[in-house]
């Protein structure tokens, strides 16, 4: 069993117009910049994929990664908890112009909805957002004298994540707080695509240390020395750069 693919283009080839795509990362930590940029390359070459629904905690920062994907005009709707950032101009401008849809979800609810999608739980109850605008229209129920909001699972056609180490079976480890949403999103998509800083032979990752078991992963591509969104933004990088 070998889930590694030959190049970034092949890695993102499964994403089609109108799909729902989860993208891992919290801000720049754990953000699969190379996969996102490969998707932008494809769009610039072919006009596809577009009309994407993107699920991520944030809305991008600067003009690289997720922000560049939005700036390229590929995103119809964003599901996230915190679309503000140090330099959120790309999303902010489109949103205020009514050109991109936003579903705002409390961060813990976002995480739990994604996990539920991966775990086959279509709905659950949470105290979060009860009595607030973000609970409007959602069923409410009382358990043991306290009120809760019913939330639904989130699932995706494709997930793009960044890992630290992968093996050909798709077993993954992450690096520090770059873990964040990545393991959950791996569970919740029909196809999970992983960029890993290192691909090692099966058996080289200690079975005790595997964070994402390979059953949740369909494609693996090695991206040694991946770019970090924060570094790119500090260098005022723009993707794609001016030719």
């Amino acid at each position: 069993m070998d889930k590694t693919v030959a190049n970034l283009a092949t890695a993102v080839a499964g994403i089609e117009d109108g799909m729902t795509v989860m993208i891992g990362g919290f801000g720049g930590a754990g953000s699969p910049i190379e996969l996102i940029h490969a998707l932008i390359d494809r769009f610039r070459a072919t006009g596809h994929p577009k009309d994407l629904t993107i699920i991520n905690n944030n809305a991008g920062n600067g003009h690289v990664g997720l922000a560049a994907l939005i700036e390229a005009g590929m995103v119809r709707k964003l599901v996230c908890s915190f679309p503000r950032s140090a330099d959120p101009v790309v999303f902010t401008d489109l949103y205020l112009a009514g050109k991109i849809e936003l579903e705002l979800v409390p961060q813990g609810t976002l995480a739990e909805r994604i996990r539920a999608g991966g775990a086959g739980i279509p709905a659950f109850y949470t105290p979060t957002s009860f009595g607030t605008d973000l609970a409007k229209g959602k069923p409410v129920a009382e358990f043991e004298g306290r009120s809760y909001v019913q939330e639904r699972w989130l699932r995706a056609d494709v997930t793009l994540v960044k890992a630290e180490t992968a093996d050909p079976q798709g077993n993954l480890t992450y690096r520090a707080a770059a873990r964040n949403f990545n393991p959950l999103m791996c569970m919740a998509a029909a196809e999970t695509v992983v960029q890993a800083s290192r691909v090692v032979p099966a058996g080289d990752i200690d079975p005790e240390s595997v964070v994402t078991p390979g059953i949740f992963v369909q494609k693996v591509i090695e991206c040694a020395n991946p770019q970090q969104e924060e570094d790119l933004n500090r260098a005022n990088a723009v993707y794609p750069g001016v030719a």
Partner: protein, 223 residues
Amino acid sequence: MTAKLTNNQIAWRAAQDITDGAYVNLGIGFPEKVAQYQPPGREAIFHTENGILNFGEAPPQGEEDWDLINAGKRPVTLKPGASFFHHADSFAMVRGGHLDVAILGAYEVAENGDLANWSTGPKGVPAVGGAMDLVHGAKRVAVITDHVTKDGKPKLVKRCTLPLTGVGCVTRVYTSLAVIDIEGGRFVLREKLPSLSLDALQAATGAELLVSGPVIDLIVPEL
């Protein structure tokens, strides 16, 4: 009825339908045998509810590690690429539709896909384990079973009489006599022992067998 497949032979037949790279859960007991008969060149990855992916066969006697067991609490070994995880993650794999196949035993399978395999009624101590999760989780739920009970009564029935494990969940049954799909609420015969007449097979079956295409000879090696 004379000839029938041994349990090993039923397990062999079920194993032929497992594709390379499939993630598979085998029920406790008889279904565990399926792992022994993977066709050459194919490698399935086995999942056990108690938190291991990609485990291998039992260790030699005396080398058991009692922290390294399967859902049947029998000792196993690890293959390269194995991983450990807790029970909630394990059943996320099950319930979330990440397993390709679950192969389970049965007391009864009904033509509507209902399965009864956890309780023989109100007597004794009931025990369910992970069966009810598996039948609603794996992409394909198959059953391996003798075609009839020890008393010669059909195990493939019109409607289950024993407590259900799951509703409309089984899609293929490998028996000691035949391979039968469940489609549109009907048993559809795919393969039968060549020595067995269709009438004899129907007589041993508790619901009508539909023949909607060629019926292949069910031929398995001596095992």
